[in-house]
Symmetry: C2
Subunit: 270 residues, 2 copies
């Protein structure tokens, strides 16, 4: 089979999936960019419809990818030189693409993690922040829930990149309505903790060793006022100087790692 | 005086200062973008050669800026409509610019902070990371040292923006040679703690209440191997799952806020 050209329908599909959220949700597919990330997806058992590599491909990462594909029974398709550059979402793309099937978690899956530690991102709109918080969630043994009308798409290419593989390995649930998430937490016995500049407790004064959901808000507007009345606790991160707030990814990381620190220090309950 | 046009020499200078590190270091000037940030600079006592606002300016932020300029004895200069867009470093610039004089701290200033908590950024090259870590440093009562041949310029417009005013308020020292920084810490009785994937201690197992300098490395390469032998301690952040490392700004924030937490918990020593 000759290498695929840029105008081949499959290449046009990949291009569209990388650029349009509607295309991703309508076809229930997304694109993973870069040989290392495709390897991580294979290792995590993500279902891939196809893997694409350039016909002039070289290098250790691509050799590694070829090896993993062979072991997973995937025959990578060759694309003509320069095509990946036309399809990819970045200016200097890494030479591999995969067409992947999303594997969204249910809220129930996410809440069922042992010693639940959920990051609930309400209207977090920046893909770098959402991806970074997926990485943080994995590092602390937790999961992520994306909610709110302004929430970034979990399969946005910048989210996929910033998550650095964590998207493939942790439960990532999507639930538009935060109220539904909070109710599910209550039913599951998971304490809800919102972070807010107007929080009443210092984040580190709270016992975070039990099941907990950290609710983080939009980059510019924070959490809607109503949310603070609905959660079990609202916490703040004490700050010196004239710093008004931390970036949401920073704030999430600081509190999530404080929870991890407390859990390492506290003996696991039966 | 008529509003300045885009080809006016002052506008050309601002354009160059925003784009070239060499222009900034040769003239010992940098540019602050956006009315809020210019207000923060005035409030922090940063020396401004000039403030520029568009002739068609409107809005609360610009009214606030006009007010602060008046109180500070600065007469803002008017620039023609559309000029800021041509000069600025961002695609949708905020309507104000200031020509500012850097106020670098000496290493000595930075080390003389009460309960020293320094973030030493070695070859941290991404401006967003450097700016964010300045914000973290202010929030924990600390300062920043930029060092290493690949270090980003402290007055890069993206650093200025990401620092969100902290650059104007905390000591930010620049010292090319990390060895000089480590020697100065030793002399000043400041413990040096490097963060590294190969660190021997968990970061939260260390007493961080005394004077401490956290040494953070390059985004891609971390710290040179030699550094780990030269510092007092090398720490790691324990992580679950398959997460290999955190972004340097994340790692710096997690450890800096752990130090702040310990300091709030521990009584201040005399």
């Amino acid at each position: 089979m000759p290498p695929l050209a840029a105008r081949h329908p499959e290449m046009q599909t990949l291009r569209r999936l990388l650029r349009r959220r509607s295309a991703r949700s309508e076809s229930a597919r997304y694109v993973i960019e870069g040989p290392r990330l495709v390897v991580e997806a294979i290792d995590a058992g993500v279902t891939l419809d196809a893997v694409y590599v350039p016909t002039d491909a070289e290098g250790a990462d691509l050799a590694d990818l070829a090896d993993r594909c062979a072991r997973a029974g995937i025959a990578p398709r060759e694309v003509a030189a320069g095509v990946i550059e036309q399809v990819a979402s970045t200016q200097s793309p890494q030479p591999a693409l995969a067409l992947a099937v999303p594997r969204p978690a249910t809220l129930r899956d996410a809440l069922a993690l042992p010693r639940t530690l959920l990051l609930v991102l309400h209207d977090v709109a920046d893909p770098g922040n959402a991806g970074t918080l997926m990485r943080v969630a994995e590092a602390v043994g937790g999961g992520v829930v994306l909610c709110g009308p302004a929430a970034v798409d979990a399969y946005n290419p910048k989210v996929v990149r910033a998550a650095a593989g964590s998207l493939f390995r942790i439960p990532v649930a999507v639930e538009d309505d935060l109220t539904v998430v909070l109710a599910a937490c209550r039913t599951a016995g998971v304490r809800t903790v919102a972070t807010s500049l107007g929080g009443t407790d210092d984040y580190d004064a709270l016992d975070l060793t039990g099941p907990v959901a950290l609710v983080l808000g939009n980059e510019a507007h924070g959490l809607p006022a109503g949310v603070l009345a609905e959660v079990d606790r609202a916490v703040r991160i004490p700050m010196l100087g004239s710093v008004e707030s931390l970036n949401v990814a920073m704030a999430g990381a600081v509190i999530a790692f404080e929870a991890a620190r407390q859990r390492r220090a506290a003996p696991r309950r039966p």
